[in-house]
Structures are given as structure tokens and as C-alpha cells.
Symmetry: none
Subunit: 383 residues, 2 copies
DNA sequence: TCCGAAACGATCACACTCGAACAAATGAGA
DNA sequence: TCTCATTTGTTCGAGTGTGATCGTTTCGGA
């Protein structure tokens, strides 16, 4: 009805805004305030406070009551009527790869976004923190983003700086498949991540139950997942009282071109000397190659060498098909969007959520049936 | 602190909306209330409570009965008819206390259950694992439970056995404010818990920012929360490079009756010799008593001794009002029910979720404004 | 079925709060 | 400098929440 009433933020002096901010602070601290007390505290008239309360109540930030205001309450029926502004939000999503691992995460996120009536904008970035930040900045600048889902590299000083920067953004941020320390530079960040350590442990315990007593680990440290897999593997060994210093642990990062076959032979030699009959291989791509290599060298899989892959993109394609730990990628995306939707709907009152999801162990042929003892014999013949 | 005491009666009167909110909380926590009890608890006349009940009944939020009110029931024929749907699932909930901490958790759970159209059956149990198991068994036997939310004592061998038993139950189980190891005996259990260590750390960092350099900790190890608080306190000290071995850490469990004052004096003496100017006090009830003791001994709060309470039940009642870490109790219940609802809807395909919630730091007077240096002077006079 | 105790609600009284109307102060822009 | 829009303060009648009284209704046990 009032044609010249300015929209939010147009003509209000900083002073009144500060006062309202202060009012909200008091409200959060005490749960409720009286007009009289606040007026005295801030040194203004009660009427001014009442007007502030009315403004805040119109925005749904407080509930008006006779004599003061309280935090918004469902019992406040004036609020229930004026709340159908279910205005739909846009979420930006920046992931480090658009062809490996992340497509499924994105797919889960997209499905949930549709469900929640949210728009989602996906961008790929390089794995390094600097490019990640550029991509996020681009999204912030060009699109109208209400929230951000991101999976940056957080290692090193650059990563920590990025973490601080993300934490200070004016929009909510959810990390996917990344963890932030609860501590200070990241206390506002929420995340959802697969418990890779649990997944690795599950694989080790499965191999143990199949009768293996020496269980090795072959990883690719160029992946950010790798440290968690190694940690889970070590913890499981410790829990099963397998001495970790005698266990085979090799890494295939930074091999020279064509050096893979030689490295695999090296690994098999180590397995022979340590009587290792089972391997957990990170990245199922590598697991497929490793199984192929074993077969080529005349080893029976799983008879001479049982194998569980970590990750389940192509594991089923190998011959024999590879048992694999499958991270709940779809759910990582889905839960990330759920977190974001809830955050956007509920605002600051909602506590920070940090969610771990357990992966699943998919059993196929490469690990079923115990080791042939002595396994060392077959290994010896093959080399 | 006796719960009968009308704490709010003395000058801390509630607004009508808060009163109704409180009433609903009591109702959800206990299932039913009497006008008389609530009137006494809130320090208002019975007539006022009756009027509140009428208002809530008009909105269909409660069912009126002679002498009090209950949660809305289908048998209540005054119900507005908007209740044609049957409950989809029934959830059992067993918590270790019905008067402390847990009522708010239950309230959050009930609110969410209503939202999700679930029935929820609450039982209290003793803190020990054996009784917990009995209560769960009773629910399983007599009711038709589709899921279970439970908060058992998991320490010791008995606790581990209980964990195995819960894990093997044929219905989904969600732990509230308890963590299960990801490992084998509990791989199916989901949980939601407050990150108390983070909360304690947040308090310590706040005190550090206010200028305190020796920050002590006063706990009550009879509470299962206590170890996490101590851990967070230690970690924060380490992160801030405060030597932990010189820090004051006292526990008030198992004091002789009337020994509290003597113990507080002992604590203050320790603070004096170690130049400790700030304390994190677990259980805000104890924090209130401690603040009172400091004031009685002539110490300025926060000038001579800054105090942050852990937990926020009565912290605001102290003089000066106490800054406190507030666990998101309502959300613990709410998220537990959300987990259960999603599990019941999606079945085994859904990965196991494990959720940590961050508490919030409510800043009040007892910790704002740095220490007066040298603080030792005032302490010395007081002893 | 009856009876006593308790709970209930209509009414009034009181204290306090609310908001409209108007006035004064402040700041921005012509 | 003036003017106009905005914000803040004052006054006062209307409105609201609460409690006390008291007659009526409801409950539960004999």
C-alpha cells in the first residue's frame, strides 16, 4: 500500500541496523528480551525498540510477544501465515574431476536438488587449491549463488588458507568428500564424507575371515583418498594383531611410463617373501591391472592371490570379477544437497552437521575362497 | 538443584509464547502434564496455564483433559478432523534420564516424529547397560517397534556386549549422544552425537581471545559427557601452546556432602598459585554454584575469574549470567528421528550415516572482558 | 447412585504494554 | 543554504495479559 517504502537495505542508516543486530545478539543469548530492558541497555526509547521488533518480526527473525520478543516460534501464528515465500535457491558445486568418481556424486546431488526444487550449477576444477578458488570465485561473481558445495584440496598451507577463505564466505558451504578440522579456521563448514578408513578395514577383515593372515596394500598416493585407505588398513591390521612392519605396502604414484609391470613384479616378489596372500588395491582401475598381471604371471586369483579393490567403477569388468569397496558416491552428493537445503531453510539456528557415510563391500570372485596353502609355492613357480 | 523450585518466579518471568513453548516441551518430554505442576514450575497461576492449554488445544497441538493436557490423541473428538492418516511406523526410544538433559532431546524427537508422521514410544532407564537392555527388550516384546533410538552406556565389557546385541537386532538402531566404533561389532549402528570436544575447545579459544592465558577445567566425571569435555579442553590447550601439566583440572565427583564449598576453595587456591584466570566448568548447574562461590569469596566475575559453563540449562539464571556451551539437544533428537525415518523408508541400500553436531557458544557476562592483571591480588585477599 | 474434592471458566480489577498522532532531530541532496 | 525524507522521542487513550473470586462442572471412590 505504501508506494515509496524502500526495499530492504535501501535507505536505512547503519545505526538502526547495528541496533537490530545487537538486539538479535541479546535475543540469542537470552532466548527472549523485554522492550524495556533493551531500551534501557541501548539508551533509546521503548518505541524505537518496538519498531525494530516489528521490522524483525516481519522478516520472521523474531516472534513478537506482549512486552518484548522471543526467538521465532512455531506457536507464533502470525509467522505461520507469512511464511510461504519458499523461494527457490541456487547452489554452486565445484568438483575436482568431471570424469572420475565425481559423476556419480553429481548425479546424486542433481537428483536430490530436483527433489528439493533447487537449481544446481556444477563446475569442474583442477585438483589444486588455487584453481578451485578461482572456480568458486567465478561462480560467486557471475551467478547468483545461495550456497556452495565444494571438494577442494585442503593439504598444505595453501589448503588451510583456502579453508579459511571458504569459512569466511557469506553463504553456507558444504564440503563433499573432504573433512575440515572442527577447529577455529573452519568452524562454520559442514561436510559429508565417506569413511574410507572403515571401508579399508572392512576389506581387511573380510580377507581375514577368508583365511588370509598376511594382507598387503597397494595404493596410489596421488589420490586424496589414499591416506585414509592406508590408515584404515593399518588400524585393521593392528586390531587383528597382524604385525604392520612385516606387511607389504607399496605405492604406485610417480612411476616412470611403462614402469607399472616392473612395479607389479616387485610387489609380487615382496608378497612371495612375506607369504602375503591377499592385497587391498586402491583404485579399482589399478586393481584390474593388477589382477590381469597376476593372471599373466600364472597366479590363480583368488587361490594364490586374493584381491579386493578400493572403489568400484570398473571392478566388475575384470576376469575374475573383483571384490571391491564401493563408496556411496550418489549419497555423498545427495546428503550434501540435503545439508545445504536444510541450512538454507533453517538458517543459523541449525547446528553444524558433520556426516560420515560408510562404504559397502561388494563381494565378487577375486576374494572368495581361502588361500591355497602353501601359497608361496605357486608364487615361486611364477617368478 | 531441585526441579520443583520455581526458578523463573523471581523476576525472570516468561512471556506467554515462551510459556507455551515450554509447556509443549514438557508435554513432549513427558507425554502429559498437570496444570498444577506446570503452574508451580513456571511460577504462574493455574488459570494462566489453563488459558495456555486452551490456546494450544484450539490449534490442535494438545488434547485437553481434566486436570491437565496430553499430546494430541485420536481419541480426542474435539480434534479438528485433520487427522485421517495412520502412523506409518513406530519407533521406540530409550534414554537414561527423564529429568535431565534428555527431555529436550525427546522433545526434538517428538516434534520431528510428528512431522514425519511417526509414532514414538519413550522409556526411561537407569544409566547401566543391563537395565537399558531390559527396557529395550520390554519395548520389543510388548510393542510393535519398527526402529529403536537408544542412548546406552557403552563402557566396559558389558557395554560392548550390549553393542553387539543392538547391532544384531532385526530392526534399525540409532544411537543418540553415543558413538559406536566403526568396527565390526557395530557396523550397522548409526548415530548422532554432539561434538562435546569441539564445544569445550570453542570455550577455551573464546577465553583465550578474551586475554586469558591460564585456563582451567572443573568437571564432574560421573557424567558420560565429561571425558569428551576434558579431551577438547586438553586439545585446545595444546593447540594454543598452553602447557597442560600446569593447568588446573579438578573433578567434583564423589565429594562428601557439604564438601563442595571446601572443594571450591581448594580449586580457587589452585587457581591462585597457577595464576589461572578462567575456568571451564562442566554442568552449568555446577557453574552456577561456582560463580556464586566466587562472588561470596569477593572475587569479581569475570574480572578476577572468568567462567564458561558446559551445558546451558540454568546458566542464564546466575548473577552474573554465565556464558555457556549449549549442545543442540533438540537437534540430537530431531536428527535421530530423521535418520530413523530415512532408514525405514530406504532400507538397506542407504549407507550407514554417522553424524556429529556442533554445540553453540552462548556469550553472557561471566566471560566477557579480559582478566584484571595481576588477578592474583584479589584471589589472595579472598582466601 | 451419591458425595466431596478438585478442576474449570466467567467476570472483574489491575498493571502494564501498544501504537497512533504529532513533534523534534538528523542527514542527504538540490 | 534550504528542503525533504528518514529516524527517533513524547503523550495518551485503547488494548492485552494476568490474577482473584466464586459459582458451576467434572472426576473418582464408596
Amino acid at each position: 500500500m505504501s508506494p515509496e517504502q524502500p526495499l530492504e537495505g535501501a535507505g536505512k542508516s547503519l545505526f538502526s541496523l547495528q541496533r537490530r543486530e545487537r538486539l538479535m545478539e541479546e535475543l540469542r543469548a537470552h532466548g527472549a528480551i523485554t522492550v524495556r530492558a533493551i531500551a534501557a541497555k541501548l539508551g533509546v526509547s521503548e518505541l524505537t525498540i518496538r519498531r525494530d521488533v516489528n521490522i524483525l518480526a516481519d522478516e520472521g527473525l523474531v516472534s513478537r510477544v506482549h512486552g518484548g520478543a522471543t526467538l521465532p516460534s512455531r506457536l507464533d501464528r502470525s509467522a505461520t501465515g507469512a511464511r510461504p515465500q519458499q523461494h527457490s535457491y541456487s547452489i554452486g558445486m565445484v568438483v575436482p574431476s568431471l570424469d572420475y568418481y565425481w559423476p556419480q556424486v553429481i548425479s546424486g546431488a542433481r537428483a536430490e536438488a530436483e527433489e528439493q526444487n533447487l537449481r544446481i550449477l556444477v563446475r569442474g576444477s583442477a585438483y589444486d587449491a588455487a584453481d578451485n578458488r578461482r572456480q568458486v570465485q567465478a561462480l560467486l561473481d557471475t551467478q547468483n549463488i545461495d550456497g556452495l558445495i565444494v571438494a577442494p584440496d585442503l593439504t598444505g598451507e595453501v589448503g588451510q588458507e583456502l579453508l579459511r577463505w571458504l569459512n569466511a564466505l557469506p553463504i553456507p558451504v558444504v564440503l563433499a568428500e573432504r573433512r575440515s578440522p572442527g577447529e577455529n579456521p573452519a568452524h562454520r563448514l559442514e561436510w559429508v564424507a565417506t569413511d574410507h578408513a572403515f571401508g579399508a578395514g572392512m576389506a581387511v577383515r573380510h580377507l581375514w575371515q577368508e583365511g588370509h593372515r598376511q594382507i598387503g596394500c597397494l595404493t596410489d598416493s596421488s589420490s586424496p583418498t589414499s591416506p585414509h585407505v592406508v590408515r584404515g588398513w593399518r588400524q585393521a591390521l593392528a586390531a587383528l594383531k597382524i604385525p604392520a612392519d612385516g606387511a607389504v605396502h607399496e605405492d604406485s604414484a610417480k612411476l616412470p611410463t611403462g614402469g607399472r609391470a616392473a612395479h607389479f613384479d616387485h610387489v609380487l616378489e615382496l608378497c612371495r617373501t612375506t607369504v602375503t596372500t591377499a592385497m587391498l588395491v586402491h583404485s579399482d582401475t589399478q586393481a584390474v591391472a593388477f589382477v590381469q598381471h597376476c593372471v599373466d604371471r600364472g597366479l590363480q586369483v583368488p587361490g594364490d592371490m586374493a584381491i579386493v579393490g578400493y572403489d568400484d567403477e570398473v571392478a566388475y569388468l575384470a576376469e575374475p570379477a573383483i571384490s571391491a569397496v564401493r563408496p556411496p558416491k550418489q549419497y555423498v552428493g545427495k546428503v550434501a544437497v540435503q545439508l545445504m537445503a536444510a541450512r538454507l531453510a533453517e538458517g543459523r539456528m541449525r547446528p553444524v552437521h558433520r556426516i560420515e557415510l560408510n562404504p559397502e563391500l561388494i563381494l565378487r570372485e577375486s576374494s572368495i575362497g581361502g588361500p591355497r596353502v602353501p601359497a608361496a609355492g605357486a608364487l615361486q613357480e611364477s617368478l
